[in-house]
């Protein structure tokens, strides 16, 4: 069984649940304090795809808001990008769109994925598919996940890995 390594960056607005989303599914040795200090925390996620094990080095970047910009240098060498937005906060989807434009300037059009988080609160979602298509990062596969229940998180990773390996 071969092992390949890939760098994947997770991007999104502040408090959309990026960290919560991966916490249950990754191997981590670093404290979340790092995110506050240097703006990134790195975890490992192993995904098995056929006879290949993909070791995803997940760069969980500090959330973007009006006070904090994403450090684009952290994106260099990334093979995949995961954008995360909060289904209950439409403005986070808009932020994701902005971030995507910046990110693709840096790393080009690498396989990407939009995770719409907090699917467990779907009844209070303020956005529908049309809104996502209009205001979100267009043309991205969308996976609705719940960090709380763990719904669809694994599927999200698998989906991304498959796209990366197909390239």
């Amino acid at each position: 069984m071969s092992v390949v390594q890939r760098k994947v960056c997770m991007l999104g607005a502040t408090a959309v649940g990026k960290t919560s989303l991966v916490r249950r599914f990754v191997e981590s040795i670093f404290s979340e304090k790092y995110q506050a200090t240097i703006g990134v925390k790195i975890d490992r996620k192993l995904v098995t795809m056929g006879d290949t094990t993909v070791s995803l080095l997940l760069w969980d970047l500090q959330g973007e808001d009006e006070f904090q910009r994403v450090r684009l240098s952290y994106l260099r060498g990334a093979s995949g990008l995961i954008y995360v937005a909060d289904g209950t906060r439409p403005e986070t989807l808009v932020t994701t769109r902005t971030i995507r434009a910046l990110a693709e300037e840096t790393v080009g059009a690498v396989p990407s994925l939009l995770l719409l988080n907090k699917s467990d609160l779907a009844e209070s979602w303020a956005i529908d598919d049309a809104f996502v298509e209009t205001n979100g990062p267009s043309g991205l596969p969308i996976v609705r996940t719940s960090a709380r229940t763990g719904d669809a998180v694994e599927e999200g990773f698998h989906h991304l890995v498959r796209r990366m390996l197909d390239r």
Binding site: S2, V3, V4, Q5, R6, K7, E27, S28, I29, F30, Y34, I38, G39, V40, I42, D43, R44, V54, S55, L57, W59, R71, S73, Y74, R76, G77, A78, S79
Partner: protein, 586 residues
């Protein structure tokens, strides 16, 4: 060009026809023409091709064109198959560069200028770094206990201090090596020293990359620069960047800067040996094994000295310190002992009273009283081995009443003759021996003026005049006169002796008179035992009387002469007259 080709083809046809005619046997004319025609039809195209190939082979210009077409591919293929092409071209390229530089160095300068600047800056920065580190290490160890031990080691082994410091500074161990993909921060290769437990090296590699990115962003440095060093207590992380990969070493202890050079070389070799794989890794993420022998040289350590040798050095250091302390202290202790001895001597010394003794400003300080007649304390100090420059003494004069000083002062005042001695009994000055009456008078007048003398006693002092008289008298008493048996006149020819005796007695009596002494001269007659005692008594008296008369006749004062017999004498063989002189003070 087309015309030229046509001309060439025409010529080829002519040449080909002639050759064919030479090669083919002649046939009848009618058939020959047809045959020629047929031959031309069949062979001309081939002839043209042959002709073109021949021309191509004969023309170097056409070769060049062909070779030029395939050269890049040929070089690529050959370089991929083995290294002989590189080996063959190496010297040629070197010579070509040399020739080019000789002809005009500017193009080469222009070409390498962009890389020269950073390379030179880096070399200078490393050299300065090594120098500063070496200075720091030296300064750090100069004053510490360990530094002193190393100084001792340098003295013992004859090495320079710098060498010793360097040898001890190389105490480090490279525990982990990371080869990290520069672009993505993914781990290409990870090595550990034996027994080292490494925690998730792929995550650590990524985090190191993130830290480098963070530092670079935060301090706005260029892409080529990055975080080269991280210090975490006893651990140091050194990173060397190459175009495709970063080599990071986790080092415990204090690594020497020479390790940087080793890391740089190793990283260069990684790039040389694995340039393609590094490039592919960016796309595939598939790790590959770094060629053996490249990373191993960085995975080095320098063992510290064994504790035993450390103990040995500590013992040596202790001995050295003790010796040094002894070296400084022993002279001081010896000097103090000499001074104490000198002080004891001064306290016993007559005429010296020590008031205070101590040290001040590195000198011995003494104060006290000193009789001028006492021995000189400075001379005593020199005799005790004390450096006069290290001694400061102040002596107040005083008069000591010790008997020897009183006697010396009396001697100084009274000037006794060598025959006169002086001693002190209590506070009484007692002269002894012989002295003149004049000196006696002098002594009586001045003795009490001598400090410490309360009285004078002259009873042990003889008068010199009396002693002289007595001596004369003793001399005269040795004169005797012999008599014949039964006779009262001395034996023959004694008259001159009697004259001489009379002269001496007169002079003696005059001297005695001047010395206020009364002299009494007794003439004693002696007789042998022959005859009766009665007759002998008469004979003895007669002999004395007769000598008294003879001396009286010669002017010797009558009052001082008496005649007698010596009844105490037991010698009954002598027939003599002898003298006995006594002196009395008048």
């Amino acid at each position: 060009m087309a015309d030229r080709l046509r001309v060439e083809q025409g010529e080829a046809r002519v040449d080909g026809a002639e050759r064919l005619e030479r090669e083919v046997p002649m046939t009848p004319v009618g058939g020959t023409d047809r045959l020629q025609e047929l031959r031309a039809l069949i062979l001309d195209p081939d002839r043209e091709r042959i002709r073109a190939i021949e021309r191509k082979l004969a023309s170097p210009a056409l070769h060049v064109e062909d070779v030029a077409k395939v050269l890049p591919e040929a070089i690529t293929r050959r370089a991929a198959s083995d290294e002989r092409l590189g080996a063959a071209l190496g010297p040629l390229v070197g010579d070509a560069i040399k020739a080019s530089v000789r002809r005009d160095p500017q193009p080469l300068v222009d070409a390498i200028f962009p890389v020269m600047g950073p390379a030179i800056r880096r070399a200078i920065s490393n050299a300065l770094g090594e120098l500063v580190q070496s200075l720091n290490t030296t300064l750090e160890h100069t004053v510490s206990l360990r530094g002193l031990a190393w100084r001792w080691e340098a003295m013992r082994t004859g090495k320079s201090f710098g060498e010793v410091v360097l040898s001890h500074s190389l105490l480090f161990r490279v525990e982990q090596l990371f080869v990290i993909h520069r672009e993505s921060g993914l781990l290409i290769e990870h090595r550990t020293a034996p027994g080292v437990q490494a925690l998730a090296p792929d995550l650590v590699a990524s985090m190191m990359t993130a830290l480098r990115d963070f530092a670079r962003d935060s301090f706005s440095v260029s892409e080529q620069q990055g975080l080269d060093s991280l210090a975490l207590g006893d651990l140091t992380v050194w990173a060397e960047s190459g175009p495709g990969a970063i080599l990071a070493a986790v080092i415990r202890g204090q690594p020497p800067l020479a390790l940087r050079e080793t890391m740089q070389q190793a990283l260069e070799e990684v790039h040389l040996a694995h340039a393609d794989e590094i490039e592919r890794f960016g796309a595939t993420g598939v790790s590959f094994a770094i060629r053996d022998g490249i990373l191993e040289r960085c995975l080095v350590s320098q063992a510290s000295d064994s504790s035993r040798s450390g103990q040995w050095r500590t013992v040596l250091l202790g001995v050295a310190v003790l010796a040094a302390v002894g070296w400084c202290a022993v002279p001081r202790v010896m000097e103090q002992r000499r001074f104490d001895g000198y002080l004891d001597q001064l306290r016993r010394e007559p005429g010296v009273v020590v008031g205070s003794a101590g040290r001040a400003d590195g000198r011995f300080v003494l104060t006290g009283l000193r009789d001028p007649l006492a021995r000189d304390p400075i001379a005593l100090a020199a005799a005790a081995g004390i450096d006069s420059a290290r001694l400061s003494a102040k002596w107040e004069p005083y008069i000591a009443l010790r008997p020897e000083f009183v006697v010396r002062r009396a001697q100084a005042l009274l000037h006794p003759s060598p025959r006169t001695t002086l001693r002190l009994a209590g506070d009484t000055l007692v002269p002894g021996g012989v002295a003149s009456a004049a000196w006696r008078a002098e002594a009586q007048r001045f003795a009490l003026a001598v400090p410490g003398v309360g009285a004078l006693r002259l009873t042990e002092l003889s008068d010199s005049a009396e002693v002289a008289l007595r001596a004369t008298a003793d001399s005269i008493e040795t004169i005797t006169f012999d008599y014949p048996r039964g006779g009262t006149t001395p034996v023959i020819a004694q008259a001159e002796r009697i004259d001489s005796l009379a002269t001496r007695l007169r002079r003696f009596l005059d001297d005695a008179a001047r010395g206020e002494r009364a002299a009494r001269i007794e003439l004693i007659g002696l007789a042998d035992s022959v005859g009766t005692e009665e007759a002998n008594v008469a004979l003895r008296r007669a002999r004395a009387d007769r000598m008294r008369s003879a001396l009286q006749a010669r002017g010797v004062t009558v009052q001082s002469l008496s005649a007698g017999v010596d009844s105490t004498s037991t010698d009954r063989t002598l027939r003599q007259v002898r003298l006995r002189i006594s002196l009395e003070r008048r």
